[in-house]
Symmetry: C2
Subunit: 592 residues, 2 copies
């Protein structure tokens, strides 16, 4: 071992001992001709190493050539600094290491950016020099947090009879095939494996096979056009249980969240976590993943609007649209007319809203260019409905239900953030239940599965399955944290006939269903227990817990938004011989 | 929850309680018109459920329609069976569940083979019906053992400052590229990712990045022609440490093995595990992964053979060959002349040996058709050298060094097994050290890396790097368990110049090295600590610990020897549209 202690370990009680440290030269400074100070760094901390010059000594001449990020090994004596010289910023600030022997293990070129402090370069350069970037304390903290989080998750499940079971990476292409990463087979000409978008079917098979409590920290893949917070490969905490009902999963995950928060953050969570229905959050927050760290709920004034003299509102309600608004507490003076008429209006416009109406509560009445269209009585009704008080700003969108949802949800999130309506370090988790089973795909003229095709229809809605499928709720649930979908799951279908019926609704023909899911349908015919499960996005959880805003900062070797690895240069062209072995050819690029 | 207890949990102290169990109908029998007995099974155990007929009762009519593997839920009263009726074969044998209410959760078709007992069908059928196969107690035991083993491994590393860090699956094709699974990129036309054969380079980068103790239970991929105990995707326990030397890795893994054996098997291992050099095991056992559960070492009699009157032996030694043998203790009467002349001779013939000479120790002399070519003195020398005693069988192969190694190693393994020279449940681990750095590839006229191109040359052999590279030992090590390679690792090169020199020796041109490993060479220039690592084959370890002989029995969803998944039918053809999106085409099969 090239060290006896690490750089975060030495304390006053080690004084007098001869020890060996090894690490990176974090900083270097000379004091006159006599002294050279080096802060030596490893992932455990930093220790000050002091070299005292003796004319002509070898150690001195080596020490004077040290540069940042060189890797060295120092044998030295631990010295107490004395009260006056204690450095309270360092864990090891009580002591210094008086160097006796110095070995340079490895030299470093000048790093392309600073490890501590300094301005960060563009992300591409950071990713290319990831071996330098990963030395930065912020990234190190996230990587260590990730480790601790994962181990806490495992501890929770391991002590509750769950088995961690690995499922294949080389699987079969599924109906969401368009987003599959494919792997050509060398042995089977013209055939392909698909990398899993989730271990969904395998974990259901495990339930049929009797392994009634399964989890896995599973790598999954999705070849989609990448958004800022998505990665082509991502990790999910994958869970499935048999002989359970919906609430058993919710309770299990409530327990997991509270266990993990306690372990990793020392925070006690109130459980059960609040449960909302999909219908409820859509009405109150306009979206299925509301940030409930602040209130500012959406309020419907459609009835008042319809009775008012304001033509725009009346027309919207008459055509089946809705008039809904937000009360931005005490913000009447915070937004200028220009901000309201241009900035916020354009903002909601991006979500399809044709306009943004605003009124200020002043002297117990509404002040607005449109106030004149509302009688005193209607004004009082609006103020009462919105909970308006002196100085509040009321904002309204009148549009289709879909547009009012989208525009007001986005507006609410924006205002919550820019008005600092919540503590960004707070952590608010809620359940959203009873999603619709199906969503109508107008383009293809058929229903799509809202969650996936294996989701159990809510038994209470069984009657609508044949008469009005769009009305059927799923036995499904999302866990929403600070406005992010942090987990998603459902009770699964365990009856092959119901499964076949759902495939029919999704217009997956029996032949196709048989070809793609035949083995699942068959499995359901050999004694399938009721089962349910959930998957939690690990990267997202680490990001939320670390307070990071960039998902690439919680992954050791992430890919760019163009799915490229800047470090290794993947993906890259390969030898023709490799392609020949795999029986594939690269197609010509279509001419533009 | 569809149950209050599991099927392995109820004991006499539960008598009188009303409980709910759920599980699979393991067996069913009627006793006259009054009684129906069902053994209900889940992964925790079995419980006998008793249905008492009451004419016309609904529960009775349902119970009489139960069939094996139906999934049911039973509410019932726990009854103590009484001393005379206790079934000591069941953990729950003290009690029975007197059914009050029965719900059929799911029906099962007749399973294609028995869950317990019964003759096993061919493996293809088992893999197709994996959801049935996985219910068999043998497979369940292995899957649970695998879980326990993995958690013990994590516990060991987690409590020793190691961090579990995930490395990418979508990486870059490496020099062993011919065995890479490739993944076409949709975004980057004509470019490909490669699935990792190991996280080797990433873990080295992590060391450069300062994460000095890393582990990962990592899925790896290798597209090779499959042998019985290999899988296209496999799992390795991947470990890397910085600021360490070889012995630190050996000690760490000694600790791991002994911790895991204690946890999983309750066995105390003697550590340090015995350490052999490569040169030593090749001489004594003829191979680099000897099974040391039994002795029967290879003995060289080349000098005696050269001095003897036996022309065959003399010719071999004269041409630089070797004459070496095994003493099969007390086996003189166990092998007939026919077995020796035909069976064993053909056996060593498969390893290139032109013949097998044999002598029996009888009356203090050698008895053999070739004994006459050896003087009494030479006979006594051979007996002494071989440790021969009355009734021993001495077997000799005279051939090139390579052939005597291969033939005698295989013969030794065969004899050890067929003569029951060891306890098959025993567990003997040894280290093999100091492998050659390079092996000569005569076909391509260059050296290949014995382990991989990042392996540190043994500093003692530095002088040969330029003069006689074939002589250079690597700072590498294998852990061998019962004749299997169970782990393999090395000290890595942490100096970019030495790395470049090794690339040169391997005839990897600088341009190619730069293209393929440029980022590693670059990383080594930014402060790389000395580091070393190892990877343990998880599937192999589970197999050894479970006493399985088939690696597919320790993997939940394995692939066949043709890399096919019999359950899902992967790999399979995909839609043309998918291929078009990926810019690839399937090549025509070459005409035969």
């Amino acid at each position: 071992m090239h060290r006896t202690h690490n750089c975060g370990e030495l304390r006053r009680e080690h004084a007098g001992q001869t020890v060996t440290l090894a690490g990176w030269v974090n900083s270097y400074r000379e004091q006159g001709k006599e002294l050279v100070f080096v802060d030596l760094r490893d992932r455990y901390g930093k220790t000050q190493v002091t070299f005292i010059t003796e004319e002509g000594s070898k150690i001195d001449s080596i020490a004077r050539k040290l540069r940042r990020e060189d890797v060295i090994k120092v044998v030295g004596e631990v010295r107490y600094r004395g009260e006056a010289l204690v450095n309270s910023k360092l864990q090891t600030g009580d002591i210094e290491l008086r160097a006796i022997q110095l070995t340079v293990l490895s030299r470093s070129k000048t790093p392309p950016f600073e490890i501590e402090g300094g301005e960060l370069p563009n992300e591409e350069l950071r990713l290319k020099y990831r071996f330098v970037d990963l030395r930065r304390p912020e990234l190190q903290k996230s990587i260590i947090l990730r480790h601790n989080l994962v181990q806490a998750v495992r501890e929770y499940f391991n002590t509750r009879d769950f088995l961690e079971i690995e499922t294949p990476m080389l699987g079969r292409s599924t109906p969401e095939g368009a987003r599959d990463y494919l792997v050509p087979s060398r042995v089977h000409h013209g055939s392909f494996y698909a990398l899993p978008q989730s271990p969904q079917i395998y974990k259901q098979i495990l339930m049929v096979a009797g392994y009634d409590r399964y989890y896995q920290i599973a790598r999954c893949f999705r070849d989609e056009d990448l958004r800022a917070d998505r990665q082509p490969e991502f990790t999910q905490i994958d869970v499935e249980m048999a002989f359970v009902e919906r609430d058993d999963i919710l309770n299990t995950i409530d327990g997991l969240v509270s266990f993990v928060m306690q372990k990793v953050r020392g925070v006690t969570m109130q459980t059960p976590l609040p449960r909302y229905t999909y219908a409820d959050v859509m009405e109150r927050f306009g979206c299925d993943k509301p940030d409930v760290r602040f209130a500012m709920e959406i309020v419907d004034i459609g009835d008042i609007a319809a009775a008012s003299g304001f033509g725009v509102f009346k027309a919207v309600t008459a055509s089946g649209g809705r008039v809904r608004g937000l009360n931005v507490k005490g913000a009447a003076e915070k937004y200028s007319r220009r901000l309201l008429d241009v900035d916020l209006k354009n903002f909601v416009g991006d979500f399809g809203a044709k306009g943004l109406a605003y009124m200020k509560v002043t002297g117990g009445k509404l002040e607005s260019t449109i106030a004149k269209f509302f009688t005193d009585d209607h004004q009082q009704q609006i103020i009462a409905r919105m909970g308006g008080e002196e100085g509040d700003l009321l904002l309204f969108v009148a549009d289709t239900p879909k547009v009012t949802n989208a525009a007001l949800a986005a507006l609410r999130n924006r205002l919550g953030k820019e008005l600092n309506l919540y503590d960004p370090s707070e952590f608010k988790c809620i359940w959203v239940l009873d999603f619709p089973l199906l969503t109508w795909n107008a383009e293809e003229g058929r229903f799509d599965a809202e969650h996936h095709p294996f989701c159990q229809p809510n038994p209470e809605d069984a009657e609508y399955l044949k008469t009005d499928p769009g009305k059927v709720r799923a036995d499904s649930y999302d866990l929403v944290v600070n406005g992010y979908e942090a987990a998603s799951g459902s009770v699964r279908i365990h009856d092959s006939e119901i499964q076949q019926m759902v495939f029919d609704l999704l217009n997956i023909k029996s032949e196709e269903a048989e070809r793609r899911f035949g083995f699942l349908l068959e499995a359901l015919r050999y004694g399938a227990p009721p089962h349910a499960g959930i998957a939690l996005g690990l990267d997202r959880w680490v990001m939320l817990l670390a307070g990071d805003e960039n998902i690439r900062d919680v992954i050791a070797f992430p890919k760019t938004q163009k799915a490229a690895d800047m470090l290794t240069g993947a993906p890259a062209p390969v030898d023709d011989r490799q392609l020949k072995d795999l029986h594939i050819e690269v197609a010509e690029l279509p001419k533009k």
